[in-house]
Symmetry: C2
Subunit: 184 residues, 2 copies
């Protein structure tokens, strides 16, 4: 399991950790705005090409690694959100499934799918312009999916069937026994 | 926004809708077990090839459309979970970003990323064998990410910076004006 160090906790407010964090936030603010503006610009220009109204950039420090717009309809791929696309691109460019030194700039707050992808990628900072309410106003399901994920499976709009006694095998037991595994 | 019809609501318990649903659930149980066993088997066999211990199958009715294991490390792609892979494969095979007639069979309860992908794909039924607690016991972050997604952004382990007044453009306004858009 990835290790995450807590940030923005009240108990640290007067500690060095917090002071350094505040300094870093203000020091990087210009690049944050620059790269966020670029992500939003990609969202706008992508619409004319048949993309959804979302754009994203991944940067490492002051260097842009990858950028993408939403290509769900163009690529006939429901997972082709701007954030998923850009995480896949950056991973291919850097040759790793782990991007802990990178920041994601995205025109809109990541939906649950893309937020999950952020965690799995190890990215530790996300900067965004619009939020799930803005997306809902434009007809997108981001807020609906956030609301669904909070519910117990039996109350969701999708049918979830848990069959714990299936006879297909024991993958987690086999994983634990497997000596050549690479954890992620 | 996609339309979802509520299922498993108490108020329908004595209606025809509920009766038909119960009938369909029991009638399809054999195929559910068959396809779920296959998904779990794919999870087990994928480990030897360098995959993570997860497998998934997408079926339409009694026909398997696509199947995949987890290839995060192999593909150097943090989004390459079995469910994301199989949704992308099925979409490519069927030539559409919309899979409302399909069922997802997955060896383990989908993580938030994959659950989000299920919603965006329009899939309305998910069958799974193991759950997020089993995954956590094997060292995976699924439960951690579920716990994080429930929190306010300021309390999460990832830093979220909302800059609502950026000057990159107005993608949602442009989207609303764009006459040739295809909603999804």
């Amino acid at each position: 399991m990835k290790e995450f160090i807590p940030v923005c906790k009240t108990k640290y407010i007067f500690t060095c950790q917090f002071t350094v964090k505040i300094y870093l936030i203000f020091n990087s603010m210009d690049y944050d705005r620059l790269f966020l503006n670029r992500a939003v610009g990609i969202a706008v220009s992508g619409i004319e090409e048949g993309g959804g109204p979302f754009g994203a950039v991944i940067a490492r420090g002051n260097e842009i690694i990858a950028e993408s717009n939403n290509t769900v309809v163009l690529a006939r791929d429901p997972t082709a959100h701007a954030e998923i696309n850009v995480i896949r691109k950056a991973s291919a460019i850097l040759g790793t499934h782990n991007l802990p030194d990178c920041t994601l700039y995205t025109s809109c707050e990541p939906c649950p799918m893309c937020l999950g992808a952020v965690y799995w990628s190890g990215i530790r900072k996300v900067v965004y312009a619009y939020d799930r309410m803005d997306a809902a106003s434009a007809g997108f399901s981001d807020k609906f999916i956030y609301d669904e994920i909070m519910l117990d499976a039996s109350s969701r709009h999708i049918l979830f069937l848990h069959i714990p006694d299936c006879s297909g095998g024991e993958p987690f037991k086999r994983w634990e026994e497997f000596e050549d595994k690479i954890s992620y």
